[in-house]
Subunit: 342 residues, 2 copies
């Protein structure tokens, strides 16, 4: 039976609600409502399809109590730092009191919150903190480069450039074409979708590469492994995770993800993003010190641009990278996948 | 009153017992004995000065029960992975039963070990797990580059190349010369010596850079901050931590540490270390994407080489890096410090 979920995305839907959008687009759940009080206040009849045209429709409501019946409330926004916004508590409490589970990718573990844990126990509900890593992680052994699988890793010029989406689109397209492939999630959205995976940004820092290596070994019976990247090697806060994934995965091919028009690091606006060609070279040079690889394709997020502006941005991106580029949502992932499979 | 310590370094003294050697060399403790059963079995009269000539002397004994009275037992070896070697338990138990504290930098927390925790409670002893990070770390804000202090970071071609030693020597020499300086430790040895600091390899990976930034801010009233680096950007398992420190510290100058003659990654022998000049460029390029810096000096560990072989290795290292180089133990840190202060 398909689980019915409500997606909490207050003040963030859709652009700052990566997990909500990822679940709508890829997960095997039935979304009964998106919670965004800002949108619902402005337009009580707002619907998901007003904002995204490639996903199942659902109403956008202001609070959990206004949503149709659901089995789980998924926290679908990922604020910087991963804390719990106190204003979300009424929705979380309502969910538990009505017998629904909580699914959360916050750094702050809801299952360790006294109030929520007590309510969950009282109403016999589960709290799944997706970002809690296994207890038995270790340092990498350095064996990922010896696996028989072809490993494809998405990397970015910044966070929130479409790495999860690109990885998922490539994986689904590969499976559709009969390729024996697996999806390797490294962040909360991918893990919720796949119902498996390790939240690499939450491991002990010494075990970052080891966590990725372990996932690859668990899926090494597939011909192709599509690994979701995180952050960016140019990011003042998140580059450690990016570097650990790059070396832990020892990928055979990289796909560089960029958001069209973005010139500075998201939420760190005083940090400029270097030209895409320089970022690509930096990933290749950094990888080469451990296990050589190449950027074989570029994924450009052109969301919000009209057709001609998108075309121009894509041409510019291709000129910089000198490899095939596409927006996997606007144009589909076919061309990118062909570059990867070559 | 100076605390009397015994240093557990079984089968590792001195070359694989970084913490023991660091404490002997730099900490304000009185070392009453080093525990190394391999050495003690081969030579019951062995002493520290048989192995190291620049530190206070002490006997080397096979077990804690054979050591003179001490106030704390310090675990002075750091095995790959940071686990507890079961064969150390008799020494740890003896220490607690005789009323001594335990100090440990293992990933495995001794204070959470049922047997040891019970003994510590029974005998009113403390267990200090140096590698336990604070609970309230966060992501970096990206402000380290704006601090007034000059930040000097040691980086390496591998782990165990002398980064802690070089950082400490530079710091002590700077203080001797009247420079207003602070030492910023990032690993267990430095933290034990300084009695302050955050074990950066044990933080949540997303908070790696943030942990370094926080330490810098706490010491930002000094003119110079000497930050202990970790691992290497060329390391298949530990590069995430290295990258997080590089971007979190936003250093004004780098000192590249290398072990003479080392051609492959320690314990990962199938991984070749790239030429030092290429590693230096890689650190500079990776830093530049966030905050530009330069390798201004090279520290070479020539331990075990005779004078002429050391000279040759230093000349070769200098020719590669084209900056002043020295072995800070063999030659003293003066030349390196001058390159840093320039």
């Amino acid at each position: 039976m398909t689980r019915r979920v409500a997606l909490l995305a207050h003040e963030g839907f859709p652009d700052r609600a990566k997990t909500a959008v990822g679940v709508l687009r890829y997960a095997d759940y039935e979304t009964v409502a998106v919670l965004d009080r800002e949108i619902a206040e402005a337009d009580p009849d707002a619907r998901v399809r007003d904002y995204l045209d490639d996903v199942p429709d659902a109403p956008i409501v202001g609070r959990a109590a206004d949503a149709p019946e659901f089995d789980a409330l998924v926290v679908g926004v990922a604020p910087i730092g991963g804390g719990l916004d106190a204003s979300w508590r009424p929705d979380l409490r309502y969910a538990l009191e009505s017998g629904a589970d909580l699914v959360s990718g916050l750094h702050y573990f809801l299952s360790e919150d006294e109030q929520l844990a007590a309510l969950a126990a009282e109403h016999d509900c589960d709290i799944w903190d997706v970002r809690r890593p296994p207890d038995d992680l270790t340092v990498a052994e350095g064996v990922a480069r010896d696996l028989d699988s072809e490993v494809v890793l998405t990397v970015g010029t910044d966070c929130s450039t479409g790495k999860m989406t690109t990885t998922r689109e490539l994986y689904e397209e590969a499976v559709d074409r009969g390729v024996d492939a697996a999806f390797v999630p490294t962040g909360q959205t991918g893990i919720v979708i796949e119902n498996w995976g390790i939240p690499v940004d939450r491991t002990v820092s010494d075990f970052t590469a080891g966590a990725v290596e372990r996932m690859l070994r668990e899926r090494a019976d597939h011909d192709y492994l599509f690994v979701e990247g995180q952050g960016s090697i140019t990011h003042p806060a998140y580059s450690a995770v990016t570097c650990g994934i790059l070396h832990g995965a020892a990928p055979d091919a990289l796909v560089l993800c960029h958001a069209a028009g973005r010139e500075s690091i998201h939420s760190y606006e005083s940090y400029a993003i270097p030209p895409a060609s320089r970022v690509a070279n930096l990933y290749e040079d950094l990888a080469e010190a451990v296990s050589p690889t190449e950027v074989v394709a570029g994924a450009l997020n052109t969301h919000g641009l009209d057709e001609s502006a998108a075309r121009e941005a894509l041409d510019d991106y291709e000129a910089q990278l000198r490899v095939p580029v596409a927006d996997p949502i606007r144009q589909g992932p076919g061309d990118l996948l062909e570059a990867v499979l070559e």
